[in-house]
């Protein structure tokens, strides 16, 4: 194992431990520490899951766009890999947002879907947009062009996310009063639980991303080794590819 690899797996291990702890604490606080809300009762607790998921997913999409900018600037494929993983994970967390939001809507208003909740509505649109990310990638065969086009998409979509949020919020506020309310007027116990939950979900996101990145890198390395074996060409120098290679792997000496 190279030094980078060892450092990476060590930090990943620490991260995993921290995440497990945080999630444990958060769950504990949600169920035992946070008070029951007067109006909505026990179901309100899903708020501690729904909103952090939403926030983390939104940030994830934007971060995916930032990584894409780096990819276009440096032409290094590792940025494309990070962008892909960030968006992929955010999409999953986004689906989680939609599901938890839907459950909450059913519990609070009796319908599985409400248009009066701008977070939910924004996420539906964002989900519809990012659901085309993978089909777009698979529709392009040339790996370098695929990565480039994906980055262009990620940047545009990343800028779209906040824009969309604003537009939907404006249109909803026009018609219905918002039911979610900001965290500013939460009682301190709830606010604390919310913060802990947010940290836990953020850590979970980062850990899962790191895991996926590591898995992809390993698979890439395996493919490269298999290819070398199949070609059986001793003339291929075993060197670290430091150029703007579109491959997601690094070959080690």
């Amino acid at each position: 194992m190279s030094r980078t690899q060892r450092a990476r797996s060590q930090s990943l291990g620490l991260l995993a431990v921290a995440t497990t702890l945080a999630v444990g604490v958060a769950l504990g606080m949600i169920f035992f520490y946070a008070p029951l809300e007067a109006e909505q009762g026990f179901l309100q607790k899903i708020f501690y899951l729904h909103v952090p998921l939403a926030i983390v997913a939104l940030c994830g999409f934007v971060v995916g766009g930032v990584f894409a900018i780096q990819h276009l600037r440096t032409r290094e494929s590792r940025w494309d890999l990070r962008s892909y993983v960030a968006i992929h994970m955010s999409l999953i967390f986004g689906v989680g947002t939609l599901i938890t939001g839907s459950i909450w809507a059913k519990g609070s208003w009796g319908h599985w879907w409400v248009w009066s909740e701008p977070t939910l509505v924004s996420f539906l649109i964002v989900f519809l947009l990012y659901a085309t990310y993978q089909p777009l990638r698979f529709a392009i065969e040339d790996p370098e062009r695929q990565a480039r086009y994906a980055s262009v998409f990620a940047i545009t979509a990343g800028a779209f996310v906040p824009m969309n949020f604003i537009a939907v919020r404006l249109s909803t506020a026009y018609l219905h009063p918002r039911v979610l309310g900001g965290t500013s007027n939460l009682p301190p116990q709830m606010a604390l639980t919310f913060m802990v939950s947010l940290i836990a979900i953020a850590l979970l996101f980062v850990t899962l991303c790191r895991l996926e990145l590591s898995a992809k890198r390993t698979r890439g390395r395996l493919r490269a080794l298999r290819r070398r074996l199949a070609e059986d060409d001793p003339a291929i120098p075993v060197r670290r590819i430091r150029s703007a290679a579109p491959a997601g792997h690094e070959v080690h000496a």
Binding site: L128, L136, R148, I155, S171
Partner: protein
């Protein structure tokens, strides 16, 4: 044969390679490459776009016909003889958007099929000019679409008369069209050289254009209401912001789509 050039600015900063004195074939020596200005490039591209469109009539008439057909569908679907206010604004904007997608899907097809990108990429021009030219072309197609679709809508489905809405409605449409043109050109370029390009074009463009529908419809609804009032400024501002933000982003990233 020294070329008398039009609208050209000579290249600056090129490293001259002192090549031979001309032989019998009167060769131009040295790197005096004439680089057409940005405006000249956009002009040449736009001229070509419109020429091809007029020759084939693929985009604009199809879009208009499609819009009128959709109005008929709405009549039967909603079972209404006339609409006003929010409903009218909604039907109009959704129809315009769906018709726009048809135009978006056709925008880069000729270039992708005929290797036209290479011809442009080899020229000593600013590549951003292609984005501007294509977006302008799409804008022109949209305006042509609206010249047919809006009167058709007023005729077929709109309850109040179009008169009071008139000074402001074109402005709202133009702001919306700018957004559609900008995003549409970017999406068209993204989808042009992929498999399933028509499907991907629609799936990419429509979510991205949701803010345009929101802004456009909310701004138009008071204009098309029974007692017409002015378009709320906040929606015009939203549309304007959208146009600006995505105009800049699309212009910035477009170059990356042109490379092979």
């Amino acid at each position: 044969m020294s070329a008398v050039v039009e609208d050209a600015t000579p290249i600056e900063g090129a490293t001259p390679t002192e090549s031979a004195t001309p032989t019998g074939a009167e060769r131009r020596s040295g790197p005096t490459v004439r680089r057409p200005s940005f405006a000249a490039t956009v002009g040449a591209l736009l001229h070509k776009e419109l020429r091809v469109e007029l020759r084939t009539l693929e985009s604009a008439p199809g879009m208009s016909l499609f819009a009128v057909t959709v109005f008929v569908l709405f009549h039967f679907g909603l079972n209404k003889n006339s609409v006003s206010g929010d409903e009218a604004a909604g039907i109009l904007w959704v129809t315009l958007l769906l018709a726009a997608v048809l135009g978006i899907n056709r925008l880069f097809v000729a270039d992708a099929e005929e290797g036209g990108f290479d011809g442009f990429l080899l020229a000593p021009v600013d590549r951003g000019a292609l984005f501007v030219a294509k977006a302008l072309a799409l804008l022109i197609y949209l305006l042509a679409l609206e010249l047919v679709a809006v009167p058709a809508f007023a005729l077929l489905l709109l309850q109040p008369s179009l008169g009071p809405a008139l000074p402001q409605l074109p402005a709202v449409l133009l702001l919306g069209d700018l957004g559609v043109a900008v995003i549409g050109t970017l999406v068209a370029a993204l989808a042009a050289r992929t498999r399933a390009r028509d499907l991907l074009g629609a799936l990419l463009a429509l979510p991205l254009l949701v803010p345009v529908v929101i802004g456009g419809a909310r701004a138009s609804a008071p204009l098309l209401a029974m007692h017409s009032s002015g378009a709320p400024a906040r929606w015009l501002a939203t549309l304007g912001l959208y146009d600006l933000v995505f105009g800049l982003i699309a212009y910035a990233v477009f170059d990356f789509l042109l490379e092979d």
